[in-house]
């Protein structure tokens, strides 16, 4: 049976045949957020991997380490998360072999931008988030890109994924300038958890990486398991 539905609502028009999905980016679910602090950055991800309404695993991290103080989050369609990560790692290793130095966060952004724009008319369905410290100056850096590689480098925080709207709200209210690493961890952890608790397709725990000059602290947060 087909009935008209307001396009803003996610619709499942038939249970028995192929389910209609609002967006390919919401097929697997997942959210990532990154924030700048005082001489540190933090990046956090949820752990759900599912196919539309069904959850398959609850330990799928979407944030990956690509350098000693450099992390990239790849929320979106999981097959493209994995493909983009593999292709990107290849490019990063080739860069480091040729240049003889570690890639800077800004340069990584340019690499990802190029990788994504190469597929302008058949894109990878991921909206990356980069967080890191410059290997030499240790300046904190965050940026987000859309699925065809348009970068955005704000001074405060970046969000991506199925609960991005809730994340914008949470981050806007909780973020302050020059947060110390422990405060930054609390801020980003609470923002992410409260945001994805309102989203059916994200959740099932969170992992937060706080990247400082001399160390990276990874914490696993247990949240509502639904």
């Amino acid at each position: 049976m087909v009935y008209p539905v307001h396009p803003d609502y996610t619709t499942i028009t038939s249970v028995y045949n192929a389910d209609y999905v609002k967006s390919i980016l919401a097929y697997n679910g997942g959210s990532v957020v990154a924030m700048k602090g005082k001489n540190c950055v933090a990046i956090a991800t949820d752990l759900r991997f599912g196919v539309q309404a069904q959850t398959i695993t609850t330990d799928f991290e979407r944030v990956f380490e690509v350098g000693p103080h450099l992390y990239i989050g790849l929320p979106g369609l999981v097959t493209d998360t994995q493909t983009v990560l593999q292709r990107l790692k290849f490019r990063i290793k080739m860069y480091e072999m040729r240049e003889g130095r570690k890639v800077k966060p800004r340069t990584l952004m340019a690499m990802v931008q190029n990788l994504l724009y190469e597929r302008r008319f058949g894109p990878y369905f991921v909206e990356p988030v980069i967080a890191g410290l410059d290997p030499v100056t240790k300046d904190p850096y965050i940026c987000a890109l859309d699925l065809i590689g348009c970068p955005c480098e704000p001074a405060d925080f970046v969000v991506s994924g199925t609960s991005s709207e809730s994340l914008y709200g949470m981050c806007e209210t909780t973020w302050r300038e020059d947060l110390e690493p422990d405060d930054l961890f609390e801020c980003i952890g609470q923002s992410l958890i409260n945001a994805f608790d309102r989203d059916a397709l994200s959740g099932w725990g969170a992992v937060v990486h706080v990247i400082e000059e001399d160390k990276v602290t990874t914490r696993h947060i247990k949240s509502r398991m639904d």
Binding site: Y16, N28, F49, V51, Q54, I56, T57, F60, L77, V78, T79, T81, Q82, T83, G122
Partner: protein
């Protein structure tokens, strides 16, 4: 959602995989002894479901390539490496003229690290390691049973009983009749067939 059911569960020393044995075409059961599991190597099994034809083509292609690696290099690919290769093949074909519409579960035993492995891979080539999973409509009935009863330290008999619980739920509640399930176990001793799980009144 597919009517075919693939179930896989990994335990500390072995991986148990079960597939239904009905080959369905529209309303008819063409074959009641179908084998949806393909042997990739001496310690790796791939269970496939999805578009008929694509399943056989893809499974045989991967199996032959894994054998080719063994012939060229003198040793077998580890299960995780084979899964990586499979994912790469599936992902490459995804955005080509001939994508494969196959969902698969790959279960194996790594003889170098002495660990069991079970990997989920859907038709979009998203691959994750799982402790247990069931594809298809049958999965909707079995996953919650697994969530409740699964423990990684079950022995072979207990694991087989768990599988029987899952299949009897499918037989009781699923619209489509899936009377027989083929069961295979993968351990350090290789791949072994266990007795089929058969509904009462059905010839084995």
């Amino acid at each position: 959602m597919t009517l075919q059911c693939l179930i896989g569960a990994k335990f500390n020393d072995f991986v148990l995989m079960a597939t239904d044995m009905s080959h369905l075409q529209s309303i008819m059961v063409q074959k009641g002894d179908d084998d949806k599991m393909y042997k990739m190597s001496s310690n790796l099994v791939m269970a496939v479901s999805g578009e008929p034809g694509d399943t056989t083509q893809f499974a045989e292609y991967i199996a032959k390539n894994i054998q080719l690696y063994k012939m060229r290099n003198g040793y077998e690919l580890a299960p995780s490496a084979a899964v990586h290769f499979t994912r790469h093949t599936l992902a490459t074909h995804l955005r080509s003229r001939e994508p494969y519409f196959v969902n698969l579960l790959m279960g194996g035993y790594d003889t170098n690290t002495n660990t069991t492995e079970l990997h989920y891979m859907d038709y979009l080539a998203a691959s994750v390691p799982v402790k247990y999973y069931a594809f298809g409509y049958g999965g909707m009935f079995t996953l919650s049973i697994m969530d409740k009863e699964y423990r990684p330290d079950l022995n072979q008999d207990q694991a087989y009983e768990l599988l029987k619980k899952c299949t009897s739920e499918i037989k009781r509640r699923f619209l489509v009749n899936l009377p027989k399930f083929r069961v295979r176990i993968i351990s350090k001793d290789g791949i072994k067939d266990l007795p089929h799980i058969v509904a009462e009144g059905e010839p084995a």
